[in-house]
Symmetry: C2
Subunit: 340 residues, 2 copies
Amino acid sequence: MTNNTPVTLKFLAEKLKMSVSTVSKALNNYPTINEYTKKRVQEMARELHFTPNKSAINLKEKKSRIIGIILPNLLDHFFTRSIYGVEQFATQNGYNVIISQSHDDLEKEIQSANMLLRSRVDGLIVAISKHTQDFAHLDQFENMGIPVVYYTRNPSFNLSCHKVLGNTFQGCYKATQFLINRGHKKIAYLGGPKMINFTHDRFNGYINALKDNGVPFSADLVAYTDFDKENTISAIQNLFDNPQNTPTALVAFKEPILFDAIKYLRSINHPNLDQIECIGFGNTSFISYLDSPPIASVEENPESVGENAIKLLLQLINREIDMENYQKVMVDCKLIVHEA
Amino acid sequence: MTNNTPVTLKFLAEKLKMSVSTVSKALNNYPTINEYTKKRVQEMARELHFTPNKSAINLKEKKSRIIGIILPNLLDHFFTRSIYGVEQFATQNGYNVIISQSHDDLEKEIQSANMLLRSRVDGLIVAISKHTQDFAHLDQFENMGIPVVYYTRNPSFNLSCHKVLGNTFQGCYKATQFLINRGHKKIAYLGGPKMINFTHDRFNGYINALKDNGVPFSADLVAYTDFDKENTISAIQNLFDNPQNTPTALVAFKEPILFDAIKYLRSINHPNLDQIECIGFGNTSFISYLDSPPIASVEENPESVGENAIKLLLQLINREIDMENYQKVMVDCKLIVHEA
DNA sequence: TTGTAGGCGTTATCAA
DNA sequence: TTGATAACGCCTACAA
């Protein structure tokens, strides 16, 4: 069954006893080609399952119609969801997407970048690893005239670049505001790794919401952790160790961390845990299965972040926006209040 | 800063005042090229950031070093985890991976297949959509001599194909056996959509474990649902509605469904829910946050499924296994018992 | 309306 | 040790 001679234009041309260019034009519906000829060619092409060779076309057209995406991790639902936005819009515009995971490792990110460069992607969307401070491997693209859009992770060391970021300041502001409106005065803030810069944006959202509402800030109510459970627990111990001054609400930088926190507080039978109201970033579907669920979630709209990134990238590819005219797009968060 | 003339072999050759073929050979470390010449060429290449054009190489070599993956959904952790296995092994062997989601839609699957065909992938790994019964769009690959490995989803209508499947029979057998060993006699089985064929494999695992242990089977203890919460609840109602004959254990075909079931039983304050022991397929990390967690999980080892798929595919690509010599690989499940 | 020829960037064969 | 040439599959300006 396996067909050995590849079906190329040349092959079709020989079968049909015409020239390669006529076949090519017929398949591309050139107006100068006789209707009957077209029909013959197109039928034969279908019959023999002719599929144009993309490598040849890319070589000719000097473009690949491929968008590269580099991101840390597909296990993080934020990124998986963001791909939806990218993919949909890319496909609509005739682009394919190659996804490459860096696993938050700089070396892997560089490798991914190099392979995508060799593949001559027409554009790159990248959420940098948490160790990326040098951008040489990404600057290569711009030097070759290939536009790059940084998304989600803010490359604050790289001033001249296109960015699409979640408005994490606004998200944290909203969460804090919400808790204040519900009467809380002692709202704890559990932040993420200080190396990731949205940690600070979120903290600023928290601080500003307090200030704008005349709620006094207390350093005792702020702690930091990373993605490690032990550290989360000791951070939570710090926040909740003083029985006279225990927080009545908590804003956490990511939901799984918040779940660890809640689990710990339950495990030590923290008094009036039921009254403590929590909010985390994420809006995981799992929340509905929890016994002490957060009262609300900050929905970061990853699909929208992805969609904005690809939209901007396509404008850059199509030269509708100048490469040097650096854009910054912020995508707002939404507070989702969970039903009791 | 943007360099306008693309850095090609020709460009380097002109700069260095030698021929294109010498430059090519120097960069590929041909033994016939003078060491000094090599050095000069390689330095210049580095300086000008020469990157070989993959489209040109593909065209020449008639291969792309790209593996295509078509799968239903990246939001399902099973698939995301399976990609780890594929990616790692593919990268090690110099292959890149293009992932395309079908969203369990046949039309999208066909589109993905066609685009991957145009991209001249060297091989395809596919988890078919639940509506795929005609395989023309996938057979095209084999007809062009491009090997295809079906994984996870068993294309039972397609007898002559390479398969890598989770041994879901064995997983369900083990789960049931485990519950029997713990003294349960009334073990309920909550199955998935009957259209997906592993539903039946799992049921057979359940049945066989009962039989092999002399536990009588009762049709009252079996119900089916899909991914819809309402249907899950009514299935659970059917299983647990008879107070005299209530099951003491439950095997469910997927964890989120199991969580819905548990949640429902708790919401109606089912008597002695605490004694009911549950097992689902998945082994979600989220389990540790649940108040009534399953006693164990069936870990389907998706990374291993992915790894086996890519290993088989590479053997087919390298003609170490004949394309017509259809292989079937089963990947065993593992029972993970959760600590109290 | 169709065909010829040249080129996209790379590699490989053969000649110098 | 190096260079000229052809080829991979496709497209297109130009010639017929």
